[in-house]
């Protein structure tokens, strides 16, 4: 069943049902089927490094271990950042209303790669305020933090209208985009030089004169 998300705009609350839209639902999908020389259908599997242990799909799992290789239960793990500071947990966006109070320009929106698109349908019991619809129809884009299940961070999300005036929520990533000046070429060149030096070091280990 599709989940409902509650929004608040200038004191007016409204609820929307969210429906994920992806390529499969619009264009269909392409599956690759593999056959052996006898035209028998094959499955993808994993071969361990011993060269003989064949592991079927679902035959591996991931877990956390300490420095001694001992298993750590998931509830004992503490997420930390690069400085060793504990990362506070964030609640699911379904647990409380999302306030729409940050309007962003189209460039800010364009700075974010979008990983998920949801079509929103206003719940029968509530209606979207006319003031909000007016702003959205004028091209307004609202940004807010979103987390589906809760966890260690929010993703940037955007509320806007599509070309046919349907309501959409787009979930993105943060990105690093910066203005580049002429001097940045030097940085690029330096990076390239570093890469070349690394490559040289590797090449030095294989002295071609020896061949």
């Amino acid at each position: 069943m599709a989940r409902k998300l509650e929004f608040k705009f200038s004191g007016d609350a409204f609820t929307c049902v969210i429906n994920k839209v992806d390529r499969t639902k619009i264009y269909g999908r392409v599956n690759t089927v593999t056959y052996d020389a006898n035209d028998k259908k094959c499955d993808l599997a994993t071969l361990a490094r011993d060269g003989r242990t064949i592991i079927p799909f679902g035959g591996t799992a991931s877990g956390y271990v300490n420095t001694e290789g001992l298993w750590i239960d998931r509830d004992e793990l503490v997420p930390i950042d690069r400085d060793g500071e504990k990362i506070p947990e964030v609640p699911s966006s379904f647990s409380a209303p999302t306030v729409l109070d940050e309007m962003v320009d189209v460039e800010t929106f364009l700075d974010h790669p979008i990983r998920l698109a949801y079509h929103l349908i206003s719940d029968e019991e509530t209606t979207i305020s006319s003031a909000l619809m007016e702003k959205l129809k004028a091209g307004g884009i609202y940004q807010f933090p979103f987390s589906y299940r809760g966890g260690i961070y929010f993703d940037p999300a955007f509320l806007m209208l599509g070309e046919d005036d349907t309501l959409w929520m787009l979930i993105g990533h943060k990105s690093d985009i910066e203005y580049l000046g002429f001097e940045q070429a030097a940085i690029c060149a330096a990076r390239a030089e570093e890469e070349t030096e690394d490559a040289d070091e590797e090449t030095d280990a294989f002295d071609f004169d020896m061949l």
């Binding site: 264009y27 392409v30 052996d36 599997a45 064949i54 592991i55 591996t60 599509g162």
Partner: protein, 236 residues
Amino acid sequence: MPNINLSDARLRDAVVKAESTRRRRTVFYQGPKGLPAYTRKILKGAVHQDYDSMLEKFKTNEALGEALVAGDPEIDFERDGMFLWDLSRVYINPKEELVYRIRQEEVVYNPDGSERERREQRRLEANVDDEVPLTWTGKMIDKQEAVRRYVFATKLQIVHINGLTYDFLFSMAKELHEAKSLMILGAGPKGRSPLIFRSRSTPYRAFLEGRVKGDKYILLMHLSNLEMKLPDEADE
């Protein structure tokens, strides 16, 4: 950082770089006593422990069921739970043997799940650093209109690699900045093909955006493979 062979409005072309813009989050995990925790891949079970192999060994479901109640024939105490690394992807046949020669076929499904066609696998080759540069089509689309029509899943920032390409890209960005629009970018001789960055990777429609501040610029390539539209009702 892939190379991009790009042409401008005057049909001058140059090879420049495209950088990923995605900001990676750095999250580490600490275990008890504040000690670092590391992820490890472990073995849950190999093919000789799955249902088909067990059935082959015990002949009937009843015999297998009895064996499972009496002991743990599905567990390999020597190997289950061992750490895995240096893994390879392989194909196995229905007898769960390694296969060395394969043939692949694509099955195309409609949005409603029905099969549309079967065809030999297409091998899409990369075309962004080809002899034919990506074409400056001159077809502009207003930014407001574009964001309401396409879902831009990926962004690449086009960067210069020397003084000449700085001038080249800056003038492109300036032209697009003044147009306040995105320009449709295409591959191939006619500039109509989608962009493919690596062999057999997802083809994308590309849109170029330019921003200028003083003598600095941003040239962004927005990539999309999804329109912002609803599925047909019949398919929903």
